[in-house]
């Protein structure tokens, strides 16, 4: 066992385990963390395959993309849904696992029985060293063989950005989105809302113009967080009873 094999199995194991984590995680934020972990380990495998530039690009691009995904989770997911595990009906799960196993077998047989068609290229270590490194080698191919494709991809990116802006705009400029729920605080499952009696949600102290406010029921008295014993908010003391347990 050389070091390379050990490192490969380490990276592959973490990558696969965290990929499984995305599928089974009940909390979407955890799924996002697992996704970035998986992508990061795959970037490590890219380095093993001599694609340092792509590894760096992968981390930079996906770090930003997944970060935005996590933010969307925080913004859009209803906190009451968070702890639930949305994994479809049991029949879907069984069918998915069955399909997965069949596909894995097929791909495995295909991998083991394939033959290489065509001649090997000349991009060996010597040539890459001569060009100055992996970045220069990729750039060489990109700008001599695929220049048109490169321009087209940049156009696609531009159109994508414009499309995203158009989609994210409210229907009329300057108008707030209808039926806006509270601010980001609502998106947090286990905020200080839990200190209120059941069925009552705290609101953002900032008035949102045009927003539909949910008035708390009359008997709910809101307490400032510091009027309570600070120990009841930490693990040190458990005076709160069952109501204060995290859901």
């Amino acid at each position: 066992m050389s070091w390379e094999v050990v490192i490969f199995y380490l990276l592959a194991l973490v990558s696969i385990l965290s990929a499984g984590g995305i599928v089974v995680a009940s909390n979407p934020v955890h799924a996002g963390v697992f996704l970035i972990l998986s992508l990061f380990n795959t970037a490590g495998i890219f380095v093993m395959l001599g694609a340092e530039f792509l590894a760096a690009v992968q981390v930079i691009v996906y770090a930003g993309a997944v970060l935005v995904l996590v933010l969307f989770v925080l913004m859009l997911v209803d906190p009451d849904d968070l702890p639930e595990f949305h994994a479809g009906r049991p029949v879907q799960r069984v069918v998915a696992i069955l399909l997965g196993v069949i596909l894995l077998l097929e791909v495995g047989i295909a991998i083991l029985n394939r033959t290489i068609v065509g001649a090997r290229g000349n991009a060996d270590a010597m040539t890459i060293e001569f060009l100055g490194g992996n970045v220069q080698a990729v750039g060489n191919v990109l700008y001599s063989n695929y220049l048109l494709a490169f321009e087209v991809v940049s156009l696609v990116l531009l159109v994508g950005v414009i499309g995203a802006i158009v989609l994210a705009l409210p229907e009329r400029l300057g108008e707030r989105v209808r039926h806006r729920r509270d601010t980001i605080s609502l998106a947090h499952a286990r905020g200080v809302d839990m200190a209120l009696p059941e069925g009552v949600r705290g609101e953002s102290p900032i008035p949102v113009p045009g927003a539909r406010r949910e008035e708390p029921v009359a008997e709910a008295t809101r307490e400032l967080i510091m009027t309570r014993d600070p120990d009841s908010y930490t693990d040190a003391g458990e005076p709160g009873g069952s109501r204060f347990r995290p859901r």
Binding site: H30, A63, V135, I184, S232, P246
Partner: protein, 346 residues
């Protein structure tokens, strides 16, 4: 280039420890300079001139109670500070502190790794660092934390673009992404008429340097861009709920990030170890680098002592409406000059 792997580990170990000690004294330096700017004395009780103050701070931080909010997402709360600390300290690996030297006939490289994509490595880990902030903010189950985290995410995503694009001019001129190659290219001399100047990229890329410094201050969440922890608005932002040992990781991460960004700027724009006598004595080269970094760190503290905090919408407006067009302009102009210099047009 041949050196055994254990030697690289030793070099990396020394670099990390020097970085940690440097960070500790960076805090003392900051407090002293801020005190001088505000006509105070600053810490002077522990040791002569307060030289033992970082040690006392460390003992104090380690001795504090480690509080975890009851509704926190515990696992993420545990490891979020580590993310920011590790991604900060790993970045020192590609910073060159000089060339190869010989110690007792054994060649020793004064850098941990000479990556072909070194500059991208630095940028990539810089953008990973923000996960420490946003995850810590989410896990704290505190609205002030979450607001701070969201601010940090928006700010870092915006300024990361400026940071990366401002370096493209340097990459165009040097033709390399390796930090060491870029540094070596700057040790050449430039003849402009009767003057002999060092070929530092700050002279050929002044606009890129200014934009890089602005983006770097924003990327490290320092004043006047310290929105994520604006203490007058958000208590202390994303680390409101953190205390003791875990808080110290955030603290370490922030200061190490500052030092790394200063090293990065000094290496890419100010010639790194380049300076009088640096080609003969490697120790002098390291000294020059430390001097340049100290100037940058003083600049950080100076900004903190002088400028008020930006308003949040102004912060984002500057990034997208002012800095981004400027940085694109810089790339276009540099590319044209490079083409003319190569004789490919005109």
């Amino acid at each position: 280039m041949d050196q055994p792997i254990w030697l690289t580990f030793i070099v990396a170990f020394i670099l990390m420890n020097v970085l940690l000690v440097g960070m500790a004294y960076m805090t003392l330096f900051e407090r002293k300079v801020l005190a001088a700017m505000q006509d105070r004395v600053g810490p002077n009780r522990s040791g002569r001139f307060g030289l033992l103050q970082p040690l006392a701070d460390a003992v104090k931080l380690l001795g504090k109670e480690d509080l975890i909010p009851k509704h926190a997402d515990k696992i993420i709360f545990y490891f979020a500070p580590l993310v920011i600390f590790v991604t900060a300290i790993v970045r020192v690996a590609v910073i060159p502190f000089g060339n190869q030297i010989e110690i007792g006939g054994q060649p020793v490289a004064l850098f941990a790794a000479d990556l072909n994509v070194g500059a991208l490595f630095l940028l990539a880990f810089g953008s990973l660092g923000v996960y420490g902030i946003i995850l810590g903010a989410y896990a704290s189950a505190n609205r002030y934390s979450l607001l701070g985290g969201l601010r940090a995410a928006a700010q870092v995503v915006s300024y990361e673009i400026i940071l990366g694009l401002s370096l493209v001019g340097v990459f165009l001129l040097s033709g390399s992404l390796s930090v060491r190659q870029i540094m070596l290219q700057q040790s050449a001399e430039l003849q402009v008429g009767p003057l002999t100047m060092p070929n530092w990229f700050i002279l050929s890329q002044p606009l890129a340097f200014v934009l890089f410094m602005i983006a770097a201050v924003a990327e490290t969440n320092r004043a006047p861009f310290d929105m994520p922890e604006a203490e007058s608005e958000l208590i202390s932002g994303f680390h409101t709920e953190y205390s003791g040992f875990r808080f110290s990781f955030y603290f370490l991460g922030e200061y190490i990030n500052m030092i790394i960004v200063s090293l990065f700027a000094a290496t890419l724009f100010l010639g790194g170890v380049d300076g009088p006598g640096a080609d003969r004595y490697w120790g002098l080269g390291v000294l020059w680098l430390v001097l340049k970094v100290t100037v940058f760190l003083f600049f950080y503290i100076w900004l903190r002592g002088t400028l008020p905090r930006f308003r949040y919408d102004q912060l984002m407006g500057i990034a997208w409406k002012v800095l981004l067009p400027l940085v694109l302009l810089n790339i276009i102009v540099t590319a044209f000059i490079r083409l003319i210099g190569n004789g490919q047009i005109f």
